[in-house]
Symmetry: C2
Subunit: 297 residues, 2 copies
Amino acid sequence: MNLSVVHTVWELRQALKTIWRSELLLGFVPTMGALHEGHAALIRQANRECGFTAVSIFVNPIQFDRAEDYELYARTLPEDLELCRSCGAQLVFAPATEEMYPAASLTHVQVSGVTDYLCGQHRGPHFRGVATVVAKLLHLIQPARAYFGEKDAQQVAVVRRMVADLNFPVEIIGVPTVREADGLALSSRNRRLSPSERRDAPALYQALLAARAAIEHGSGPAEARRDALAVLASTPSIRVEYLEVVDDESQTPVSRIDGPVRISAAVWLGSTRLIDNTTATPPRLSRSEGGAPGQRL
Amino acid sequence: MNLSVVHTVWELRQALKTIWRSELLLGFVPTMGALHEGHAALIRQANRECGFTAVSIFVNPIQFDRAEDYELYARTLPEDLELCRSCGAQLVFAPATEEMYPAASLTHVQVSGVTDYLCGQHRGPHFRGVATVVAKLLHLIQPARAYFGEKDAQQVAVVRRMVADLNFPVEIIGVPTVREADGLALSSRNRRLSPSERRDAPALYQALLAARAAIEHGSGPAEARRDALAVLASTPSIRVEYLEVVDDESQTPVSRIDGPVRISAAVWLGSTRLIDNTTATPPRLSRSEGGAPGQRL
C-alpha cells in the first residue's frame, strides 16, 4: 500500500477529498512523532477497523509548559514514516508550525473540570493546547474515528469531554498502553533516560500495580496511594509529582471507591518527566464494610 | 417544499444523513428565533446559493450577559417556522436548552483579540458563548456555508476568526443588514421599544451615517466619532455605550484611516440595548495629507 506524505492544509484537502466522498471509514491517529510501538498499536488498530488511516505528525508547541521540553522533543520523521507505512497508514500529515498556527491565530478550546487535577494542575496551559490542536486536526482530517493512547488517560478524558460537549461528529477510541518487558510504558521521552534512570523507571508501574492490588483487596484510595508511594520511596532517584486515585471520566480524585477507578501518576527521573496509569476495580462490597446496596450501582 | 422541524440531536442526524452523503451544498442559518426580515434575507440567500437550507432556532443562554435579557428574549416559534417555510428552508433544528447543554458540559471556545473591544468589552462572556454555540452547531449541521447578519459585525468577525483558527471546513458568509424605511436596523429587540423610543431609535443609524460622511470626506477617526456623538447627543433618550471606528477584521479601534473601516455603536433606549454599524471608505489620500505611497496599500 502506498503512503502519501503531505505538509500543507491544501495538500491534505486534495489527498482526502475523494476519501470524504467515498463510503470508506476514515480513521485518524494524531501523534507528535518520535513514534514507537505504542503508536504502532494505534495505527494498526485504526487500520484494522477503518478503510483508510491517516496519521498526523506535529510537535504542538502550545501544549508544552516548558520550552526545554519542546526543544528536546525527539524529531525522527524518516523513521516515523517508515513505521506508519509498515503499520498500514495511507496518509501522513506533517505540517510546519506556521501551517498550523499562522501569526493571526487567536482561538483556544478550554475544557474545565477534567483538567483541574493531575497533569492539568501541574502543566499550566497544557490541556488547552491539546484541546485546541485536536479540534484543529479533527476539522482538517474529518475522521469517523480517532485513536488515542490510554497512557495519556487524562488527555483521552479531555478529548472525550470536548468531543461530547462540542458535538464533534467523531468517535474517540482509547487504546491500551504498550509496555516494555519490565513494565515501563512506552514513551517518546524514555529515550532521554540515562542507563541508571532507565533501570529505575519501572518502579513507576510497580507502584501503580501495588495500588491496584490494594484496591482489588478492598483498600480505600488513601491506603492504595500509601502503598504505591512506599514502592516509589524505595527508588531514591524518583521524585513524585502526583499519584492519585481518580474517577476516569471526571479525572477527579475519589474519596472512596464504589466502582472502577484509575490510578495515575507523574514522576521525575532527573530532568525527565514520565507519566503512567492503570485501572483498578474493587471487590464486591461485602455487608461487613457497611455498603448499602445502592452504593454498588 | 416541505419543512422538517426537529428538536433533538438524534432527529437532526437522521434528517441530515442523506444530505451529507449527497452532492447537495448544505447551507446553514443559525438564529435565536424571533425571526424578522433580516433573518429572511439570510435564509433566502442560503436558499439561492445552496441545494439544502437548514435553520437553527435556539436562544443560547451562555451568550447572555444579563439574565433579564435572556428571559425577555422573544420566543415566537410558530411564526418563525412559517417564515422559514416561506423563505425556502427545508429543515429547522429547534433544540431544548438541555439538548444543547447537558449538565456535564465543561468546554468553551474562546477567541481573544477580536473580542477585546465593543460588545466584547461590555458584555463579559458574550462572545465565548457565541463561539461555543456556533462551534457546536457547525459540528451538528456540518454545512458547507453558514450565513450571518452583518448587523452583528463583531460576531461575524469572531466567527470568521474561530473558523480560520480552528480550520472548520465551512465558508462564512456575511449578509448586509436589513433596515426599516427610517434606517433602524431590524432586530428582535426592537419590539421592546416604547412608541417614543421607537421614534428616537433611528438616530443611531443617523449617527453612523454622519461618521461615514466625515470619513468619506477625509476626516480621521476622532473627528468622525465626534460628528456621530453630536447626532446622538441631540436625542436625549439615547445613552451611548460605545461608538468606535474599528478595523473590521481585528475589531480594534483605529488611530488613523488608511482604508475601509467599520463604525460600530451600541446605545440604550430605556432598558433596551441596540447595536448597529456601517462601513466607510476614505477618499484617496492626497499628497497634501502627507501619506507615503506605501500607506495606501
